[in-house]
Symmetry: C2
Subunit: 361 residues, 2 copies
């Protein structure tokens, strides 16, 4: 599929994996679940479908060097550097300019850089389906995940099972009715019970010219700025024009800016063991535990410990008589967190920031 | 009191303070409660009574260099090095030989190197009393601590309050009836209720010639070996003779070998905020906590944490939503232990030893 391009969004700077993630090495650069850094795994699992030559990675000025080291096989011109983060719509718009220039019929597979996928073969089948439908329908495709539990940490997509105005239902591709924000637990339970809601995975498939046209309709200001950048794409003025454009435009997500407003939107129903690996709690859930519910990485000694996740880094960690803890040790910091409360890790990072303890963030 | 000598026993190799204590740096070399290493504090708190010139420290071959660095003001000949640890009786016997040689009327104040004493003035008063009575009575004096709770981690000393055969009751010095091993909790409660039991602190005061005579009576084999060493004290043969002697003698404690068998034994009742600082739990108890019962050393961030003791070493430690934990971070290891279970730390060290993870012990 030489006209298919991967666009991997790697500009995240999250603090939810402190102390393992730092501002200099956010989650996508960490080997959290084993098997290489998350961005390496993201690129590698696409390889049979999309070669590195057709893989673009969008990052920020702080992480471009690290990214080159992580992905040495990536042609250096495939690294797109945003002068400043402006959420997903400008990021995707910029990538669309490049893909469209490389191939006017190019199809983009837009993926976050830091998600986990267990069943890679099934994932690739769904991507292939999405590419087919994106080409046939000239629509906007998103991947929705069959929910396994009433998760409150994800957005949801409601789909329409009927075949009306939709020739793709037999492929598991449906018209989107609505996008729903992260729900409260009661709503999440209702979504799960209804059977017509999927998790919003943040993965998109479309032709570059289609998404640019839709940005033109729904985000005209962004479109105008992208047009300016487009004129300089391979000229020495590119960097300065990009900087000026991104300086002017507002941050907005592709979901809110385009997907919720466009009409020709489809969702591919996927079921391939996906997670956004959004917290230490999620890592603990995803890690294969022993019968006592413990899981660990590194040199860990547990004595009467249950339900706990321990990442010892290069240290040795010993625990005695505790339960349901998350323990993360790095060279300069240690986190001990009750399970179920790892979302509060970002408050720790906020505290370190307020106290200007910059060596720890 | 120029004829008074301190004999500080610093040969301990305990593992109860892992990961902070290591085989190379056992507890007496650690600054566990602040204010310098425990052995520095032990020497310093005696200073007004016994100058460094009269202070002997008994250690082993592994720690002599560290000890010299910790106590640079100590004359190097005051460091007695045991070729091999043989418990307290041989250690004290060896020190007695040296004290007796330096001063035939010398009185020894024998102290462990790793205990905490809060009220130093009161401690010195009791030592002074013990020295006086040791000289007048030619008896064996021990310091007993007025118990504050039914501790099962200490041995006990039962004393006789009557003034029969005892002219020193008005000084708070009593005849010893029995020494009791570490009791079970019910027995400890009975001891506490009875009012005539004291904690055995392992501190002793006696004339050097008196303890040597008592060793001669109750441990004749040890005495015979000490006699051989005595002949070589300041000769080049000393080291070899000592090695030979310690190679032959059996390990035995002064309590079991002499104190429990001798007749002229007194106890000075002391009440000066003493602890043997025997575990991380004890450190946690001794540390001044905040209203939520937490106490910490180093850079520690606590979020909804109570009843916990955290020593961050040179790292930053963050804890979220936990209670009653002991968290100790060092450069190479982390301990997370439920309060009340820190005696199990030695099982961790045993495990590391079995697995030959020598870099961690």
């Amino acid at each position: 599929m030489s006209h298919v391009y991967a666009v991997i969004m790697a500009g995240g700077v999250g603090s939810r994996f402190w102390p393992k993630s730092r501002e200099r090495t956010p989650k996508q650069f960490l080997d959290i679940l084993g098997g290489g850094s998350m961005i390496q795994q993201t690129v590698r699992r696409l390889e049979s479908l999309i070669p590195p030559m057709n893989t673009l990675v969008v990052t920020n000025i702080f992480h471009q060097d690290l990214l080159r080291r992580e992905l040495p096989f990536l042609p250096s011109e495939n690294l797109l550097v945003e002068p400043v983060g402006r959420n997903t719509a400008p990021c995707i718009g910029l990538a669309a300019l490049w893909v469209h220039r490389m191939d006017p019929n190019g199809v983009m597979v837009v993926l976050p850089s830091d998600h986990m996928i267990r069943d890679e073969a099934e994932f690739l089948r769904k991507i292939t389906t999405a590419v087919d439908v994106a080409e046939q329908s000239r629509g906007l495709l998103t991947i929705g995940i069959a929910p396994t539990h009433p998760e409150t940490g994800y957005g949801y997509i409601q789909f329409d099972e009927s075949a009306e105005h939709n020739p793709y239902t037999d492929k598991g591709v449906f018209r989107v009715k609505t996008f729903a924000e992260k729900p409260i637990i009661e709503t999440a339970e209702r979504f799960l019970a209804s059977g017509d809601f999927l998790w919003n995975s943040g993965m998109f498939v479309w032709r570059a010219d289609v998404i640019l046209k839709e940005i033109g309709i729904h985000l005209p200001e962004l479109y105008a700025n992208l047009e300016e950048v487009k004129l300089t794409l391979t000229t020495p003025a590119y960097r300065a024009t990009l900087e000026q454009a991104f300086g002017k435009i507002k941050g907005i997500s592709i979901d809110y800016g385009v997907m919720e407003r466009a009409s020709n939107v489809f969702v591919v129903r996927g079921d391939f063991g996906w997670s956004d690996v959004g917290s230490w709690d999620e890592v603990a859930r995803l890690s294969n535990g022993s019968p006592d519910g413990n899981a660990s990485k590194g040199t860990v000694i547990l004595r009467d410990v249950s339900g706990s996740y321990v990442d010892a880094g290069s240290k040795v960690v010993a625990a005695i008589g505790v339960e349901d803890l998350i323990i993360i040790a790095t060279d300069s910091a240690v986190l001990v967190c009750k399970k179920g409360r790892s979302q509060e890790v970002k408050e720790i990072v906020d505290y370190l920031r307020r106290k200007q303890m910059n060596e720890h963030i």
